[in-house]
């Protein structure tokens, strides 16, 4: 595997987790391509045009995206189901159009001048974020999120502020997508609006659905397979896209809950069952 592919894989794992975190509260977000774009552009502008350091720029990009995530999420998360999906798609569409029409960041031409990234930075980020999500999966918060996802009304009745929890995770997911977008921009040295089309948002969701939505490892498996596979089947030439699509359909037909469907239990009684 080339270094380039390895870096994209790491970035895509982070993006998959950004969707996974939001999905923990039952929200399927097709807006993460937009948050990725925000992160790419905000961190790119800060480093290339204002000479701000790499890590401060990344942190600021993530924070900005979290704020925008919460602001857009507040009205969006009042809708559910298919409407919510449409609203999140609209966010992606809106951000892409907004970038295309902003001269300051080069419009459709895109902008360059970023400083690059490294294997250590990308995979260091994957490890740190992965560790945090793993801690989450063992914490009481995991159960709060599971409750919200499984039955929001019962979750409310036992005292959980469902809107607040959904909004918080939407903001966190937006921040992570932006961080991954920042890595992407610096790795590419150049970004343009057509790097962040709706297809990108759809693909990130696909990583999670294909890998399995019930645990953090599904996102990893989905992101790795869907990033590496198109390269691995490059030899078949022009039919590549078609074969790739077909493989996804077959997989989802046979493993509806993804490749890794299990949910980890958060607490055990430590007793022997006698029934």
């Amino acid at each position: 595997m080339s270094l380039d592919l390895a870096l994209f894989t790491g970035i895509n794992i982070l993006l998959a987790w950004s969707v996974y975190l939001i999905l923990l509260t039952g929200t399927l977000s097709f807006a993460n391509g937009a948050f990725m774009a925000l992160g790419a552009y905000v961190s790119g502008v800060l480093t290339a045009k204002f000479g701000i350091g790499y890590m401060p720029a990344m942190a600021m990009a993530a924070a900005a995206s979290a704020v925008i995530g919460v602001l857009t999420g507040y009205p969006a998360l009042r809708t559910r189901g298919i409407y919510l999906i449409l609203v999140t798609l609209a966010i992606t569409f809106f951000v892409q159009t907004a970038i295309e029409n902003t001269k300051f960041v080069g419009g459709v031409q895109g902008m360059g001048g970023m400083m690059g990234t490294s294997f250590e930075i990308v995979y260091g980020s994957v490890i740190v974020v992965g560790a945090l999500i793993w801690l989450l999966s063992r914490s009481p918060l995991q159960r709060v999120l599971d409750a919200v996802r499984e039955d929001e009304h019962v979750a409310g009745a036992i005292g959980i502020n469902v809107v607040y929890v959904r909004l918080a995770l939407f903001g966190i997911g937006a921040a992570l997508a932006a961080y991954a977008g920042g890595l992407y921009a610096h790795h590419m040295f150049f970004v343009a609006p057509d790097h962040f089309t709706i297809i990108v948002s759809v693909f990130i969701v696909l990583y999670v659905i294909m890998g399995g939505v019930n645990n953090m490892w599904g996102s990893v498996v989905g992101a790795v397979i869907l990033t590496v596979l198109p390269e691995a089947i490059r030899f078949i030439g022009e039919w590549r896209q078609g074969v790739f699509g077909l493989l996804i359909v077959i997989l989802l037909l046979f493993r509806r809950d993804g490749i890794l469907p299990f949910r980890s239990v958060t607490a055990r009684s430590g007793r022997k069952a006698d029934a």
Partner: protein, 253 residues
């Protein structure tokens, strides 16, 4: 001392349908109030309003001295009203123990702080296990809730409700679909729960349960209060008898 619950002139309409029609009642400290009435009488709609699932079209609801009419679900839950559901609603993917642990107020109130809840692990498990044991589910603590038989699912729902630390517990037909033996056990369980609660509201068609648990009964029909009083009085009330004819007649003996 003020009433645990005061429902005052509460109405709920759905389009043209009046589900609850300017109904008033109180639940006093230490009391178990039974609510009965034929199908569609508005019993569930009433406790849906009390627990914040529905917003009343008119009227006020108070928990002790606090008006809760327009509060949201989680605010009402935090103030100490817990409930079970006519059609059981568990977190089916979680284990029995997790269902109870999820309702722990420490984490439902400050969800993001729950991320740092590692320290409390053993203590949280012990606390939840005490409730699981209290409801007689200790040997099934690690089973997936969705796989529980009916009676156990009912008991788990009650354990989860108790885990929120409620003052008032609302039970919506907990005895539905249970045989005599199971019903006896349920009655004993509900009596045990009462020690932990300021008051209890029990919706039930099963007259044995009403007789053995309720201190006072409100009979509803067409969203209105038909009769109110001690169980024996209400059950022998002519209007109540008539309302039940042809519906759940057999249970009225």
């Amino acid at each position: 001392m003020s009433s645990v619950l005061s429902v005052d002139g509460v109405t709920k309409t759905f389009g043209g349908l009046v589900a609850v029609d300017s109904l008033s009642l109180t639940v006093e400290p230490g009391e178990a109030l039974g609510i009965l009435g034929p199908n569609g009488a508005g019993k569930t709609a009433l406790i849906n309003m009390v627990s914040g699932f529905y917003r009343p079209t008119a009227g006020t609801i108070r928990l002790f001295d606090r008006e809760i009419t327009d509060l949201s679900l989680h605010q009402i839950g935090r103030l100490g009203i817990a409930r079970t559901f006519q059609n059981i609603r568990l977190f089916r993917r979680m284990t029995v123990l997790e269902n109870v642990m999820t309702a722990n107020p420490r984490y439902t109130r400050k969800p993001l702080r729950a991320f740092f809840g590692f320290g409390g692990r053993r203590h949280d498990i012990d606390e939840a296990m005490a409730l699981v044991e209290f409801m007689g589910l200790a040997d099934r603590a690690d089973r997936i809730a969705g796989s529980l038989p009916y009676g156990d699912a009912r008991r788990l729902e009650m354990a989860r409700a108790l885990a929120t630390g409620p003052r008032l517990l609302l039970l919506d037909e907990p005895g539905a679909g249970m045989n005599e033996e199971e019903t006896e056990r349920l009655i004993a369980d509900i009596h045990k729960c009462r020690e932990r609660l300021a008051a209890i509201v029990l919706i039930e068609h099963d007259m044995t349960m009403i007789r053995k648990i309720a201190d006072r009964v409100v009979a509803m029909n067409y969203g209105r209060k038909m009769a109110e009083g001690r169980p024996t009085e209400v059950l022998s009330h002519p209007e109540v008898k008539r309302a039940y004819l042809g519906t759940t007649e057999g249970e009225l003996v």
